[in-house]
């Protein structure tokens, strides 16, 4: 895992394996894009990381998706082709400029790339971005593999300029994170148009917006006409017994599940091409509509008065695959035998292996400390620290969306106060999430006198998505030095008087800081100051080892949750009070240990020592404990 990815430009011709995200970046380059913005989020993160390698494109991380959208839109209004990318929940944040951006349209092409985490591999919910295209009345393109992802980006820019509209390119995890072969093309030289003052189009005061509204409706009608004849919506005739309408990854799964069926493949899937759908439906015996998540095309086709034989049969949760498609549609007369038995629950076999914190993660000392404070309510947030919900810490009690911890904590505190009950409430949030949308929550806490402690776990990176830079790191996406945010000064400027900086590896300091902050009447903030172990700023130190003869099996070190600590044997002993106690004797994986020494601080018999020092200790006799 590196933070500073290579800045070498990709090859210029040929055919190479690319992920959907890399292919979108390539398509943007080949479409002449010059400005791109984003906020990291799985599964969309790598689009901007790939774009940043093209030196002739300005690429940036914005503090959040709304700002990213506004930056890219600004570039479009200035007459440069531009792109914004985000994960599905990012579009909730950017929905405000999208809705009015639809009214304003574009000057140069503007593409909104959104990747839906359909199977919730790394998200708090599953959302179907196809609704947003309908909501904002903008066209929707859905590629089904990397090659199409690249081609549809270019088509999206053409469509955006032809129809004066932002265009949404909808990906899913199985487009973004699937590699396939892509033909490379050239980058055209596009003229820079510049901004042209036109208040009726660009200044959405009510009087102007009311004039734009009917134009948006007309644009939708015109877009539907284009969709009817679009090469992105081909009919692939085969057997007319079954005809399948599908888009995106649902198409490739259905294509494999029903190799002999005819297909209407919707690459340009909103607005729907009604005539084309009628023509296709009229020529097949059975009509299936295969789509992931919502039955959205199905509902619209049913509303056209067309019979849909797959109605309500497809699962509305989780990702599709060929097997699920076959199973849902009764096997379509084939391979019925294979779909009858329910699949084993692989996540539970033979034991679950959920995500963990890394060995030496600076969050561990914080969770260790907070996990012992059973009376405290901890509102959590989005990031690696969401893992604090798990064992052994159980130190995260809510997780909603980016930045929610602060408002949630304030609301809880006020509710307890109104009920005349004393309750300590904490908000726990990471550095990048705080800058994304936590600052306004802190402002509310200060403004309305909330008695809330905010714990900012500053590990100097966007950790969960693989270590991206942000306004607090002092480095831009394209690896230029910039001014980093000073979190302590920022919190003080927002009006917090009680701000502490703490080393998360010093357990007594963390404990003292938390006790002090909770005792302080009014808003308080604690900021940690150690980097994520996966970024360059982290320097691994000498690993530790356990002296077997000194380990008493108490298991205290296991309470840190460090994955480098392994139990080698267990033993049940009878205590003087007659109760049984299980002892766990441990070793430390020398290759996993990052040398943070957190476990050393928990070890009563002082059995954990720097690796290699054991021989020395033994030769001079074991230390007395």
């Amino acid at each position: 895992m590196t933070r500073h990815h290579g800045m070498t430009a990709p090859p210029t011709t040929g055919q190479i394996l690319m992920s959907g995200n890399e292919a979108v970046a390539r398509g943007a380059w080949e479409a002449g894009v010059t400005v791109a913005s984003s906020y990291p989020g799985t599964p969309a993160t790598e689009i901007l990381e790939a774009l940043a390698r093209y030196p002739d494109i300005y690429s940036e991380w914005a503090p959040n998706e709304k700002v990213a959208f506004e930056v890219a839109m600004g570039a479009s209004l200035a007459g440069a082709r531009s792109l914004v990318s985000m994960k599905h929940v990012g579009l909730n944040v950017a929905a405000d400029p999208l809705m009015t951006g639809s009214y304003i349209g574009v000057r140069a092409g503007f593409l909104v790339v959104v990747s839906d985490d359909v199977g919730m591999g790394s998200s708090q919910n599953a959302q179907d971005t196809r609704y947003f295209a309908r909501f904002a009345k903008v066209p929707l393109l859905e590629p089904s593999d990397s090659q199409e992802a690249k081609a549809f980006v270019k088509e999206g820019f053409r469509l955006s300029e032809q129809m004066d509209t932002p265009v949404i390119l909808r990906l899913t995890t199985r487009i973004s994170h699937v590699k396939g072969l892509v033909d490379l093309g050239e980058r055209p030289a596009l003229p820079f148009l510049g901004f042209a003052k036109d208040p009726g189009k660009y200044v959405m005061i009510p009087g102007h917006a009311r004039k734009r509204q009917p134009m948006i409706l007309q644009r939708l009608t015109d877009l539907a006409q284009l969709a009817e004849a679009s090469p992105l919506n081909p009919i692939e005739w085969a057997s007319r017994e079954i005809g399948i309408i599908a888009a995106g990854p649902a198409y490739v799964h259905a294509r494999e599940a029903f190799p002999d069926a005819s297909f209407l493949k919707l690459g340009f899937s909103f607005p729907l091409p009604e005539r084309l759908i009628r023509e296709f439906a009229s020529q097949v015996e059975r009509l299936y509509i295969v789509e992931e998540l919502e039955g959205l095309v199905e509902a619209e086709v049913l509303a056209m008065g067309i019979r849909v034989d797959s109605g309500g049969k497809l699962p509305r949760t989780g990702e599709l695959n060929p097997q699920r498609v076959r199973a849902a549609l009764d096997g379509g007369g084939q391979r019925k035998d294979e779909v009858s038995s329910p699949p084993p629950d692989l996540e539970m076999l033979p034991f679950p292996r959920p995500p963990t914190l890394c060995a030496g993660c600076p969050h561990m000392g914080v969770f260790y400390t907070l996990g012992k404070m059973k009376d405290l309510i901890i509102a959590g947030d989005i990031g690696c620290y969401t893992l604090g919900v798990g064992s052994p810490w159980n130190a995260t009690h809510t997780c909603v969306c980016m930045g929610a911890s602060l408002g949630n904590a304030l609301g809880m505190e006020k509710a307890y106060k109104m009920a005349n009950k004393d309750q300590k409430v904490m908000a726990m949030i990471g550095d990048s999430t705080f800058l994304h949308s936590g600052m306004t929550g802190l402002l509310d806490i200060v403004y309305n006198g909330g008695n809330v402690t905010v714990f900012i776990l500053d590990n100097r990176t966007v950790g969960m998505t693989g270590g991206q830079d942000h306004p607090g790191t002092g480095v831009t996406l394209q690896q230029e030095a910039t001014k980093p945010v000073d979190f302590v000064a920022l919190c003080k400027a927002l009006g917090v008087e009680h701000v502490q900086l703490v080393d998360p590896y010093r357990l007594p300091d963390v404990y003292k800081a938390v006790k002090e902050a909770l005792a302080h009447p009014g808003p308080s903030v604690i900021v940690t100051n150690r980097p994520c172990v996966l970024i360059e700023e982290f320097h691994r130190t000498q690993p530790f080892e356990v002296l077997d003869e000194l380990c008493n099996g108490c298991g205290a070190c296991l309470k840190t949750g460090c994955p480098a600590i392994q139990v080698t044997r267990r033993e049940v002993v009878r205590l003087p009070n007659g109760r049984d106690k299980e002892l766990s004797y441990v070793i430390i994986d020398p290759m996993g240990c990052n040398g943070c020494d957190l476990c050393v601080q928990t070890c009563g018999p002082k059995a954990i020592v720097p690796a290699g020092s054991a021989a020395r200790v033994t030769s001079s006799g074991p230390p007395q404990s």
Partner: protein
């Protein structure tokens, strides 16, 4: 195994940080160099943090879905013993399992909340197909770095897969550019391949 009308399905499974995605990249690049169509799916984000990581690689004339349907895996490369147990139900009867002889217990097992199976390799004995255990992690440390385990495993897979050494070596050369790292990986690849070939599991079934 061969690549023909039927798409060849390879599932690589391990734990975040073990190099599953690098190994699947080598396989995909080798298959592309051999002139096949390839689709490779990956896991990113939260799931990568010490959790289970899988990568589906599908090789054929024209590959549509990037996902291998349950029970249709031809070759499972498991980077850890318990992960071999977890993913075994995905393998077709007569398929092949390559298993790294390595046990990694997650914190929830160390905390005593779940039990690690006593002997995962023993419970693979009833598998209807070929099973090849290989000490890839131990060999990797001998060869110079625990990070080479993935390349050793992919070398073992190469003994079963219908791709020529020249394409594998070109794929490795495209992934590792520093001469010293490249040499180590080529050595690791051949170690894995020679070991698997010596165990004569190659070319089983189709």
């Amino acid at each position: 195994m061969n690549v023909g009308e039927r798409t060849l399905n390879v599932l690589l499974a391990g734990i975040g940080g073990q190099g599953v995605l690098t190994a699947s990249q080598l396989l995909s690049e080798a298959a592309v160099r051999a002139g096949h169509d390839v689709k490779k799916s990956e896991v990113h984000g939260m799931a990568q943090r010490g959790g289970v990581v899988t990568s589906h690689v599908r090789i054929g004339r024209k590959v549509y879905s990037p996902i291998i349907s349950s029970g249709e895996v031809d070759l499972l490369v498991a980077f850890e013993e318990a992960e071999a147990l977890r993913w075994r139900p995905e393998v077709r009867p007569g398929g092949t399992l390559i298993v790294n002889c390595l046990r990694v217990a997650p914190p929830i097992v160390n905390l005593g909340l779940f039990k690690y199976p006593d002997d995962p390799l023993a419970s693979l004995r009833d598998f209807n197909g070929s099973v090849l255990p290989i000490e890839a992690s131990a060999l990797a440390i001998e060869t110079g770095s625990p990070r080479l385990a993935g390349t050793i495993l992919i070398g073992a897979a190469a003994a079963v897969l219908p791709l020529s050494v020249e394409h594998w070596e070109a794929a490795i050369g495209s992934r590792f550019t520093a001469p010293e790292i490249l040499d180590q990986n080529l050595k690791a690849f051949h170690q894995g391949r020679d070991y698997a070939a010596s165990m004569a599991i190659g070319q089983s079934g189709n």
